[in-house]
């Protein structure tokens, strides 16, 4: 089946939104969830000598943020190519 460029672009945009919504859920859970809302409850557990909630608030969430951006950049590169909208040729 042939799709018009505009349908293709709409599907690409939906794929992007779906990926970034999933990653934003993780972003919210580690920072606002573990680091703020659940911090006191998590503090009963311990990790590397830290109370777990405290660790999320001052260390863990930041590591997850870094990972999230690289996962997004990597997955998006694949999605870009899949829909033929990648900027590969721009690099040449």
């Amino acid at each position: 089946m042939k799709t018009t460029p505009s349908d293709n672009n709409k599907a690409y945009w939906r794929a992007n939104i779906s990926l970034l919504s999933k990653l934003l859920v993780v972003w919210f859970v580690v920072s606002f969830g573990c680091g703020i809302i659940l911090v006191d409850w998590l503090d009963q557990f311990s990790l590397f000598g830290f109370k777990l909630g405290f660790w999320f608030a001052q260390q863990g969430a930041i590591y997850v943020f870094v990972a999230l951006i690289f996962i997004y950049a990597w997955r998006m590169k694949i999605i870009d190519r899949q829909f033929g909208v990648s900027d590969d040729e721009d690099e040449a």
Binding site: S6, N9, Y12, W13, N16, L20, L23, L24, W27, S31, F32, G35, I36, I37, V39, D43, L47, F48, G49, F50, K51, F54, W55, A57, Q58, Q59, A61, I62, Y63, F65, V66, L68, I69, F70, Y72, A73, M76, K77, D80, G84, V85, S86, D87, E89, D90, E91
Partner: protein, 591 residues
């Protein structure tokens, strides 16, 4: 060589390096000046973004604040890093695809409106100037303590250096000096942190060190020991919070969304070659930032424990040398309330009013005498939290070259941020105000000249703020984030993710967000500061966190008004379709 000589040497060498880079990377076109030619490698841009982002506040003050507030300090750690996720997902790639020079450029084009562009310029200038004044002050503090020149001379030297590379090199000069400044500042931050971590816990990784056992045989970890020591002295436990959950939530959100809306950070993503590089570059930026931001809480806990150990119950006559050095700068003071010659440290303000005012004579033990009234509290020691990072190497007894390094790092942090801010101010004036609004007929050469003049003027105004700081600056800096979150962030986000968002919606949203947030802050900080406590706040949200509510208001109004008024024109809907697709980013820049 003495510590003093080493400090001159390190700071002097770093300045020579920055100026050398500035001469090597002069800007020859407006594109060089505004976006460094648009061909910066994502790792290089990430490093420059990190230096741009980490200001004197991150380098000097953040660990100090965390040191004194413990877990509540997490708002800064989460807020100032989590924003990069939003930036990478929601803004940076699309703004890069849009591919012009400034943030008001995007708002002006997307909302097909000169008024929207001007509102964006006003938000940008307000946010950036409050910020830059704090940087110049930071340079002044470092100079006055480490090079023993007065604050004004320090500010003038700092201005001269920024002038050199911001005016000559524009974004191109700034990008490459920021890379050098990042290297200087991160080295200067990590070396003492690693030393202290080894000294206290035998663990060379500070990020793990503050959860490890203290090597004094007590069998307690650093945080456990800190909790118990602080509880003994009448403080609350370090690892427990005292702010309400809703307030911590609101402040963190305001800082995160504010970060994503800050023009001097956003504009860095206009400098990379294409869209996928913009995504990656945000990741690299956060890696470079996270190195410092995950070390800061470790430094904070080490420093607090060290401080209590060194100061509490120590006779003043036996106090280490650094105590006297910092007393000379007015950032530490001791008032012998019980006349025993021994310093007692505890919870509560030591002095009334809180900040020391010295009467000019020295007392029985050699301490500087104070005009302040003693308070009821048994605490006799005033400590300004800004010194925790700067004095940390001295408190831990590290060698002179480490102390000199920290001085060079503090200056690098302040200068790199100041330069980035000055650039967005000058380009919004020369590009958005002059070229796009008032004098559309000027040639590129003339625009470049105006950009340089605007940068020079901005440096001078920033310097004046540094020398004669208006009393409100220190308080306002933290609010720049709330204002950015409540004004620019929603307009940018809707501009990309909603084709229905139109100029009526964007302008009313920005104005309502800005006015609401600004009024709330002004009311509690300037109009009725005596009411500034949780029971008077809206839903228990402090002025620091109110930007989050301002942002929600902005979104609600922008969406509602957009629905009730005409759709944006076809050309704008096509623009939105175009920026959502990565391909063709290079072509878009060469318009």
């Amino acid at each position: 060589m003495s510590t003093q000589m080493l400090t001159y040497l390190f700071v002097g060498l770093s300045f020579a390096l920055y100026i050398g880079i500035a001469i090597w990377s002069r800007a020859s076109s407006t594109k060089d000046f505004y976006v460094a030619g648009g061909g910066v490698h994502p790792v290089v841009n990430g490093m420059a973004t990190a230096a741009d982002w980490m200001s004197a506040a991150s380098f000097i003050s953040m660990a100090g604040i965390i040191s004194f507030v413990g877990r509540d300090g997490s708002v800064y750690l989460l807020g100032w890093t989590g924003g990069y996720v939003l930036l990478a997902f929601l803004l940076a790639p699309y703004l890069r695809k849009f591919g012009r020079f400034t943030v008001p450029d995007f708002i002006g084009e997307r909302y097909y409106s000169r008024a929207a562009r001007i509102v964006a310029v006003v938000c940008l200038i307000f946010v950036s100037f409050t910020y830059v004044a704090g940087q110049m002050r930071g340079v002044g503090i470092v100079f006055s303590r480490f090079l023993e020149v007065d604050v004004s001379t320090g500010v003038i030297i700092g201005m001269a250096v920024v002038f050199m590379y911001a005016v000559l090199g524009g974004m191109k000069g700034i990008t490459y000096t920021q890379v050098a400044q990042y290297c200087v500042l991160i080295f200067a931050y990590m070396v003492p942190a690693i030393f202290i971590s080894i000294m206290m816990t035998d663990n060379p990784i500070p990020q793990l060190g503050f959860g490890s056992e203290v090597n004094d045989g007590s069998g307690l970890s650093v945080l456990e020991k800190l909790d118990s020591v602080l509880l003994d002295l009448g403080f609350s436990a370090y690892t427990e919070g005292s702010k309400s959950t809703i307030d911590v939530f609101a402040i963190t959100a305001a800082l995160m969304f504010g970060t994503a809306g800050l023009p001097h950070v956003l504009v860095r993503f206009f400098t990379v070659p294409n869209v996928s590089d913009a995504r990656l570059s945000a990741g690299y930026a956060l890696v470079f930032i996270a190195i410092l931001y995950t070390t800061a809480p470790a430094v904070a806990s080490f420093a607090r424990l060290n401080l209590v150990d060194t100061v509490h119950n120590t006779p003043y006559a036996e106090a280490p040398e650094w105590f006297g050095n910092w007393e000379d700068t007015g950032l530490i003071a001791w008032q012998d309330k019980n006349n025993d010659g021994i310093m007692q440290y505890g919870s509560g303000a030591a002095l009334s009013p809180t900040k020391p005012s010295f009467e000019g004579n020295t007392g029985a033990h050699g301490e500087r005498l104070l005009n302040n009234q003693p308070t009821e509290s048994i605490n006799e020691v005033y400590i300004d939290r800004d010194i925790m990072v700067l004095a940390n190497p001295e408190i831990a007894g590290l060698p002179g070259w480490v102390i000199a390094l920290v001085a060079a790092g503090g200056v690098a942090a302040a200068l790199s941020t100041a330069a980035g801010l000055l650039l967005v101010i000058s380009s919004s004036i020369s590009h958005d105000l002059l070229k796009k609004t008032l004098l559309p007929k000027i040639t590129e050469k003339q625009e470049l000249l105006y950009a340089r003049i605007a940068a020079a003027a901005a440096v001078c105004i920033a310097g004046l703020f540094g020398i004669y700081p208006p009393a409100f600056v220190a308080q306002v800096v933290a609010f720049a984030f709330g204002l950015a979150a409540a004004s620019l962030f929603p307009a940018l986000l809707l501009g990309i993710f909603s084709k229905r968002a139109n100029k009526e919606g964007a302008i009313s949203g920005m104005l309502v967000g800005l006015v609401f947030t600004f009024s709330y802050i002004a009311y509690f900080k300037f109009v009725a500061p005596e009411l500034n406590s949780a029971e008077h706040w809206l839903w228990g949200i402090s002025p620091e966190g109110i930007g989050t509510i301002g942002m929600i208001l902005n979104f609600v109004i922008a969406i509602t008004v957009s629905r009730l008024t005409a759709k944006p024109p076809q050309s704008v809907q096509e623009l939105v379709d175009n920026i959502r697709i990565p391909s063709g980013a290079k072509a878009a820049t060469n318009h």
